[in-house]
């Protein structure tokens, strides 16, 4: 029966390639062959084409040879009688379809209809890809569902979307069924779309499906160190790492089949709600290739089974849906029932370690009234006081656990978590309240999640929620004292005061030769794992991604090399990396997986370094955008003169200390300057530098290396008088 599918896919591929040819001709007529063509802000050109062929499509002229290639891959439609083998052909046709669609969507960016319009988002830029890609690395997102078409009605669409969200899957949406799209069905029911809620509307045309697959290709390039043009590894990477699938809702026409065939190349099967032929034998995908006629109430489970995905969700007994996708849901003021904390309402959230006999596990106490007694639209006093005990619990882990509250309670639909410590402004939505959500459920969530994720260190969790203003204020005193004490303890910690560093190999599944070495003064380059986190994570899972590294004998204290660290590195980088300097970006710098928050680059003319963060999409003085830098430095390579790191590291005493330290900083984007300015000022004071923050150029004062130098001369930047950097 799958001859029907192969024939349809091949017909569809022919149609789409033809459409792309027409669109390209039209675009060239308007813009000329030399007109640049691109998806915005990506270092990966048209990513599927780049991944599969290694060809960087830069201009409309380049597109012609791509379409020639696509045409060369178009097989004939299988004969009615005595047909020739068609599976290989259909898969090639699928890939030809994707090539053509990338060209087509690229043209749309130039002559319209613009892919970004209304609810539609078009291509994800590299900022999003890196930010979200990391979730596919650490398992926060087990995969994505590429929904093509529309559900029979909006309510069914919402049900399917919610179910996928609760399974932590991303939902990528494209195409339509007779003019109706899944994404529009969701918005009609007031569902929030966007990357934050994991409900991503790419485009209403079938051709927008390439954005889903291109995203997958880019993840392999960025995190898997797969070389452009190494199509086989890229696709196998996707088969074995990115657990995605196509959910075809509504009638499947030739063009949809062509896209499904394209997806099968990646090992992404198709699950359909209509009666289409099935392809059950396995091989290209992990299990079945096409399954059909799945009822809507079973389609999510079936898709997960067919893809071979294991998702362990611990059910939390609360009246609203729960999962990472809901963390991104914002609650606007008009949708808000009440706000915890905020103007005139004191609030805090606090974790404290207790002796095990002092507390009762699972005890949730309300001191003060619950939500129903507050007036809608007001700010209410709220103190979330969490006591934990456990044989392996340490005082140092308190802030780590506390930091998780944001994620844990934010993942409940109807709670919007903002702020931390004594600066909270959490919102509860009207809808949530109507569904039965109460403050005691915050306790339920915290109790369940602490046990689920931190069970190795936490044996007992007791939660008290204060809503009585006087009680909250009373508790605040204790809380403030604890915070002050905690800050002091952390400040006193430095690289010299510890014998152990920690490794982080979380990204090795994607970048097999990279590992982060984490010290108290240099956190993991993604910014999400500090030395304390590493320590706690090791306690929680002794065989996990964070392992203690005995520093061992000093080789060079200045650049930060130790025998023990180098030995560990060699053994754990598949014998690819021999030495790492913790404090230098020139001699044996640390490798990068590709998910760093910032990257520092040598500016030889300026005798200094520039630092750019992930969100900055403009050109930088080194002549490369962040995305290009990330593309060339990621993947576990040692690149002298380049170093990926966290934002936190910029203010560290050890920031490129061997290369001259923070005084070398000559350029960074304004936004980053604002964000980490207080670190910089503090450190500058220690170094005796005056008005240093303002001496660092930004995009408003310099966009080329020459301009940076001119600015430095104008403000007399200290790097000018330092020893030559190289």
């Amino acid at each position: 029966m799958s001859k029907i599918i192969a024939a349809a896919a091949i017909r569809g591929a022919h149609k789409i390639v033809q459409k792309a040819e027409k669109k390209l001709a039209e675009t060239v007529a308007q813009k000329g062959r030399d007109c640049p063509v691109e998806f915005p802000n990506t270092g990966y050109y048209l990513p599927i084409i780049y991944s599969m062929t290694g060809i960087p499509v830069k201009t409309l002229g380049d597109c012609f040879k791509i379409l020639e290639m696509a045409k060369g891959m178009l097989p004939p439609v299988p004969e009615e009688r005595h047909w020739l083998p068609y599976l290989g052909h259909a898969l090639d046709a699928g890939m030809a379809t994707l090539f053509a669609e990338e060209v087509l969507e690229g043209c749309k960016y130039l002559i319209g209809p613009h892919p970004v319009e209304g609810i539609w988002l078009g291509a994800a830029d590299d900022v999003i890809m890196r930010e979200r890609g990391i979730e596919f690395v650490d398992g926060t997102a087990p995969g994505f569902a590429a929904i093509v078409g529309a559900a029979p009605d909006a309510d069914t669409a919402v049900k399917i979307a919610r179910e996928l969200q609760q399974k932590n899957l991303y939902v990528f949406m494209s195409a339509n069924t007779h003019g109706v799209s899944f994404a529009e069905q969701l918005t009609s029911k007031g569902v929030q779309l966007g990357w934050k809620t994991r409900l991503v509307p790419f485009g209403k045309d079938i051709t927008a499906t390439v954005y889903s697959l291109g995203f997958a290709n880019r993840a392999a390039l960025a995190f898997g160190a797969v070389k452009p043009g190494d199509f086989r590894r890229n696709l196998l990477y996707n088969k074995n790492r990115i657990f995605a699938f196509v959910m075809a809702l509504g009638e499947v026409d030739d063009e949809k089949y062509a896209n499904a065939a394209g997806a099968i190349n990646y090992g992404f099967p198709t699950i359909a709600d209509t009666d289409i032929p099935e392809i059950l034998p396995t091989g290209v995908c992990t299990y079945e290739h096409v399954v059909s006629q799945i009822p809507h109430d079973r389609i999510v489970d079936k898709a997960i089974e067919v893809r071979g995905l294991k998702i362990s969700i611990h059910k939390i007994d609360i009246p609203v849906p729960y999962g990472p996708a809901f963390e991104g849901e914002r609650i606007r003021k008009e949708d808000m029932y009440v706000e915890l904390g905020g103007p005139g309402a004191p609030g805090f959230e606090f974790v404290v370690m207790k002796d095990t006999h002092e507390i009762t596990d699972g005890k949730i106490t309300m001191v003060g009234p619950d939500l129903e007694e507050f007036k809608e639209g007001t700010a209410i006093p709220a103190g979330i006081y969490i006591e934990v005990a456990g044989r392996k619990m340490q005082k140092d882990f308190e802030p780590i656990l506390e930091r998780q509250i944001h994620r844990f309670i934010g993942e409940a639909q109807g709670i919007f978590h903002m702020g931390q410590r004594d600066q909270i402004r959490h919102r509860i939505s009207k809808e949530g309240f109507k569904a039965g959500l109460r403050l005691r459920h915050v306790g339920t969530i915290i109790h369940a999640k602490f046990h689920e994720e931190y069970g190795a260190i936490v044996d007992k969790v007791q939660v008290t929620i204060y809503t009585n203003k006087a009680e909250v204020e009373k508790r605040l005193g204790e809380v403030h004292r604890a915070f002050a004490e905690r800050d002091e303890r952390i400040l006193g910690m430095n690289d010299e005061s510890v014998n152990l560093f920690y490794s982080c190999t979380l990204c090795q599944s994607f970048a097999p030769t990279h590992l982060c070495v984490i010290s108290p003064e240099r956190s993991g380059l993604c910014g999400s794992v500090s030395w304390l986190d590493g320590k706690a994570s090791f306690e929680i899972n002794p065989r996990g991604p964070n392992q203690p590294i005995e520093k061992g004998k000093v080789i060079d204290e200045n650049i930060g090399q130790w025998e023990g660290v180098n030995r560990f590195l060699l053994e754990n980088s598949r014998h690819k990396v021999e030495r790492v300097s913790m404090y230098s970006m020139i001699a044996d710098p640390m490798t990068s997986c590709g998910c760093f928050e910032c990257i520092s680059v040598l500016l030889p003319m300026c005798n200094g370094i520039m630092t750019v963060h992930r969100d900055f999409t403009e050109m930088t003085p080194c002549g490369m955008k962040f995305s290009t830098l990330a593309g060339s430095v990621g993947g576990g390579l040692q690149c002298p003169g380049f170093s990926g790191h966290s934002k936190f590291f910029i203010g560290s005493r050890k920031f490129m200390a061997a290369d001259g330290g923070m005084q070398r900083l000559v350029w960074m984007p304004k936004e980053l300057k604002e964000e980490v300015g207080h670190f910089i000022e503090k450190r500058a004071k220690e170094l005796g530098l005056e008005d240093f923050l303002n001496k660092i150029a930004d995009e408003t004062t310099a966009t080329t290396e020459e301009e940076v130098l001119a600015y430095m001369q104008q403000v007399n930047h200290p790097a000018l008088s330092m020893a030559p950097l190289i």
Binding site: E79, L84, L87, G88, A90, L236, F243, P281, G283
Partner: protein, 656 residues
Amino acid sequence: MENKNPTSKTPGNPTAGSASLKLLERMKAEGIETIYDRYQLQQPQCGYGQLALCCRHCNWGPCNIDPFGKGPKKGVCGADANTFAARQFLRMAAAGTASHADHARAVAYLLVAAARGEAPGYKIKDEEKLMMVAECFGVKTEGRKINEIAEEVGEMALAEFGKPYGTQLFVKRAPESRQKLWEKLGITPRAIDREVAESMHRTSMGTDQDYRNLIKQAMRLSLANGWGGSMLATELQDILFGTPKPVLGKSNLGVLKKDYVNIIIHGHEPIIAEAIVMATSDPSLTKAAQAVGAKGIAIAGICCTANELLVRHGIPMAGHMTMQELAVATGAVELMVVDVQCIIQALADTVQHFHTKLITTLSKAKICGAEHVEVDEEHAVEAAKKIVWMAIDNYPNRNPSKVFIPEDTGAEVVAGFSHETIKYMLGGRFRASYRPLNDNIMNGRIRGVVGIAGCTGPKVPAGDENYVSLVKELISKDFLVVGTGCAAGQCAGSGVMIPEFKDACGKGLKEVCETVGIPPVLHAGACVDNSRILIACSEMVKEGGLGNDISDLPVAGVCLEWMSEKAIAIGQYFVASGVFTVFGMNSPVTGAPDVLKLLTEGLEEQVGARWAFERDMKKIPQLLMDHIEKKRDALGINVAKERKLYDMEDRRKLEV
């Protein structure tokens, strides 16, 4: 009657064998002798010969050994039954190996000549394959011209026949564990000519007289065929003539065309055949044919040349080897051009009854009564044109009243399943791999793979189609079949090699055939192309999940009507490569029970595979299936497994 409804429940052409029968009847009526007649005249065939108990290796003999133990137990020199049989076995394997090797040598010379521009008409058609072989041979490719690379590859290939030191280069394409095993046993094949010469030496009077040592040499020698001569022939032919891809063709005597100048190409080497194909593309020849009253020129093949032409060009196949006389007897063949191997001398007599010309082309293979037109690489197309002209000129001599073409017997066939094709068709150009095959063997949709190879002959009743019956049974139980040589030729003529034949499969195999769009019986080429099956087996091992060596795979090989000495060499190299191999008919060593025991039991310990000889054709399918199920049990894939669902931890363990 042609099978009008190819998707009916019992597809295939039930009257395929009847084409032969009709022609035989006719020949009988006309008083023309056939192999069946001559076979009858030979009855009873020599019992000593059948039992391998006759030795005439020296002039002290001929000596016989009495199988009943009453008469002599030894030859004059003292050689016993084991030595008699093992020496004969080794000599047969040596002749078989020499056949494939000499075939390969001709191709290698042609490759060098083509690369040097000294073989007009021939060129490098498959550069990708050339690069693959170059890499395997360690020939530098970077920055070099294609012809330069091809020349060096050709020269390296020629060295494989007579190099003084070292072993066959293609051996490294085998799974590592197999290579190590050969090394341990000391049977990694050296230069091909050396293995053949040494085998002849060792079997001469008063030399190697330990049957175990002789059979061991038979393994090394045969491996020099499978991983040497045959593989060289296959790969170099692919370079010159293109690697086979799926193609629709037609087979059986019905492919001969009544109003055309019919040329039959018969034999084994595609060199001449390709030259004839090139020659007939000249429109002036078609015009000439029309000038003598024909509609055009039709080419068809017989025997392995037919297989080669079918898998590469979809050129019709008139039949397998027992049909060579029958093709002439249609009275519609103007000319039959032949090269080497399996061309029966009787053809020279058969053509006397018709206007057909029989043309030999190589100085190494002449036949009394045939005309000879020498074809060498430098003048191949020229010579081919001359031959086509002879056919055209002969058309007016055709006697229409003698023409009898069983036109309803042409069966369609989808052929061309080279190892590369199989890989491509399972995943397209971006995901080409054996993974889907391995997966579906592991999940039981496909129970295993059976290779059918080899000859047809008069020892079975005319019109019986034993290979066809065998494959029907195998596929109905979900065993995938790959065929080469005349076994494939017979299947091709019977309509079982079309994708619609999936309906005759078990549920699992049918699903796979539908997914991929393949027939359940795959035509992989000529007998020399059994090397493709060796590579396919190696790839299956490398793909993973089916053990660490070829001997772990759920596969088996079978030849029902073995005739040629080549069959013995092929069987022996399959066994030595780890494939259980069943031969129908008698064993070639029946009179020496120790040798028989070594072949059918003892080798298992050495190389993990053995021979089986089974006279009862009906028992053979079960023998093959039981073996494969045993392998499946050993692999643990006969136990139903729960679907594994992958969490992040599991995924990290997967290779990327």
